[in-house]
């Protein structure tokens, strides 16, 4: 028993956890110093994957909490139509496709960032959304409808901040200039659309192919019997 306890204690006092906390704390530095912060995040190994995952999960939680706990004056969630997995997927899938598309393009165009780097930088860029989003959920419950515009303003501000951070991060991790950063970002968005299209095409072709073989199988079984 004491063994387990000491192990748990060891986990939380160990070097790894300390590093994790440090890298997580680094996100606060990064959002205020987008250029230096993004550069150091990758090149100086100031960030960690665990911290990136944490921020992504916190962002997902913020999204869900916003749906669940923010006041109905600013929140038009229809509970009978909520599918929590779809809601999570609607953030995670675009995130994955974004990272994939960005990695594919920048690899071709001299980008320095690796797949993990892109993911980490993007995840760290979600920090303002979490930091502003969660207080806004509380605020939405202590303001009237007229004051509720602050909720909207701050959330929009958070999103703009996030987008700005992503842009900066892309410039820094790929070692691009302003033009290159903007262009690669726009191209990645276009790439996302292409990937979505290919995936849909792929699935529709696969289902057609499956249907073809199924019909052949049916035909044969009918002939034999």
């Amino acid at each position: 028993m004491s063994n387990v306890l000491s192990k748990i204690l060891g986990f939380f006092t160990g070097e790894g956890f300390k590093h994790y906390l440090k890298t997580l704390k680094y996100s606060l530095y990064m959002i205020l110093h987008p250029f230096d912060g993004s550069w150091d995040l990758i090149h100086e190994k100031r960030g960690s994957m665990a911290a990136a995952h944490t921020i992504v999960i916190l962002a997902l939680l913020t999204n869900i909490w916003d749906m669940r706990f923010s006041n109905f004056m600013v929140n038009n969630t229809r509970w009978s139509e909520v599918n929590i997995l779809m809601r999570l997927a609607s953030i995670l899938v675009p995130l994955f496709i974004w990272v994939l598309s960005n990695w594919c393009l920048t690899t071709l165009f001299d980008g320095k960032g690796r797949f993990g780097d892109i993911y980490m930088a993007t995840a760290y860029s979600f920090t303002p959304y979490v930091l502003i989003g969660i207080p806004m959920i509380i605020v939405s419950n202590i303001v009237t409808k007229e004051e509720g515009v602050f909720y909207t303003y701050f959330n929009v501000f958070a999103l703009i901040w996030c987008v700005f951070l992503i842009l900066c991060a892309m410039m820094m991790i790929h070692d691009y200039g302003l033009g290159g950063g903007l262009l690669s970002t726009l191209a990645s968005v276009a790439g996302m659309a292409v990937i979505m299209f290919i995936v849909l095409l792929f699935f529709s072709l696969i289902s057609d192919a499956v249907a073809y073989f199924v019909s052949i199988y049916k035909e044969i079984t009918m002939r034999i019997s």
């Binding site: 999960i57 669940r68 004056m73 909520v82 409808k145």
Partner: protein
Amino acid sequence: MMKRITALLLLACLVLSGLSNAKTAYADDSWYTYTYNYWGDEEASPDAYTVDRVISGSAFGEDVGSLLNPDSLFAIDDLLYVVDSKNNRIIEAQWKNGEFRTVRVIYHVNVSEEKKDLLKIGDKIELCLLQPGDVFVKPITKEQRLKVYGEYLGTPYVPEIEPEEEPAKDGEGEGKGEGDNADATDADAEKKDNASDSDGENGETGETGETGETGETGETGESSEGGKASEGTKPAKTKWQENIEVRKFNRDYDIFIADTQNNRIIHCDYDLNVIDVVANPKDETLADDYKFLPSHFVVDDAYRYYVQALNINAGIMEFTKDGTFTGYIGASPVTISFAQRIWRKIQTKEQRMKTKMFVPTEYNNICIDSKGFLYVTTSTLKDNEIATGTGKPVRKLNSMGTDILIRNGNHFPIGDLKTGNVAGAMEQGLSITGSTAFVDVVTFENETYCCLDKTRGRLFVYDFQGNLLYAFGNSGMNEGSFLNPSAVVKLDEETLAVLDRFAGTITIFTMTSYGKLINKALSLYRVGQYDESADVWREVLKYNGNCELAYVGIGRSLLRQKRYKEAMDEFEIARDSVNYSKAFKYYREEVVEDNIVWFIIVIAALILIPKGIRTAKRLRKEISEA
């Protein structure tokens, strides 16, 4: 290490997400009565009106026969007027103890020698109605009438009827009417006794009527008429005398008849003696060969006419009491979108001529409420205009013609919010598409109003704020369904009559206790008895827990009683964010005031504790340095 942290976080995510399992409810979507909830979905509601009976023309007496394309209804006090357009007649019936009793059938009016020129069409004096479109009845005493319109009765004008013209003019309907008039007078036997001043001809008609009752009505009527014609009597005169007889059933009413195909509105007293005629409006906006086709109209308390004419899309035509055309009111401005404007620039002149004209909405019906505001409906709007709220199918016009209808509900008063088979709407198994098309509207005392939808044969009742109270009806042949509803009137505050043009029937709806409760709650609220109103709304909730308005009503009462938290809960159920916010503002004030000490302590602590820590640190540093 990192993996373990991630796994831990994922687990935390699931625990912390704070979600309860939301259940999805699906229901059978074929109800008779329903409302739209906050989300714009249909929700079953208890019946607010039920069909009392469906009556056809024969209910007005055996010899009235069936109704043919009846266009309009009008009800005043205990009288119901059915405008039986294609039969060129108006049936006047008395609604008493749940039964109809025909008073008379109006085929023509009477005129004095002095006024006969008013009825001149071409060079003929036309007394008979030709496809009347609407009728309006207004209470007015003899003294008032004399004051407003002056003396109008004089020597009765007796038309010269050429024998060969008579069969052409008097169709089968005329023959039936002959018998019917007699029947009506027969029913009012006690009144007939007073008709001793009638001459021999009149007595003869009475007899004809009786034979008509025993034998085959229509034919007997016609043959008797033919007989009379051969005797050299004048049938039109006979009717004139009959109408005098009806005068025994006297009321202080004026009758206005939109004699559509004769291009005029006839204004006469209750005995059908013509007082005035509105015809041939003269205006520079109207073409010289313009044919005035009044379809529906109302008369306000200043005896002005507001006429919806068939071929006019510039709004409602307004006439003074003496029939002078003064202009249009309520025309909706023509809006051309930017894209359309660009497109028109590119088009050649020929193409432009061929494209559809941008015309303002054409109204199709008009109703006047007890305060003199006009309610108008239109069905010429496009689906997307209606859905976005730019097209307004029902409007309330003030005397300036401005739309002052309040649209504070969660949805616009546009009828069905969807365009498919809403709430089980089907027509003989076929799909119905398209927006709701309002064709008539009727207002109630508590400023609720009921719109009649032609597309799905439905009635939509809205309160004075524009909230849908309930919708009911359907398309079809069943009781309570309609093929082509054309008019709706209230017989009293709790009874509706809906006219079906194709079926030629009138459906009488009576209000259920549920409908009465809602009405009562709204009326109490309007006179300021909020708490009593809330009690009624609580009763409503026993019938229908989904009634959002009930929650708002209760919430409002709680808000007035300063029970803010409870009010907030009620408003939240109805998702009424405006009222919720109001209640919350007071609630917040209350909480802050009650706990002001705690707030000060917390704020002070937030300021002082970090300061204290800093001081302590500095002191320690100083001590250690020293």
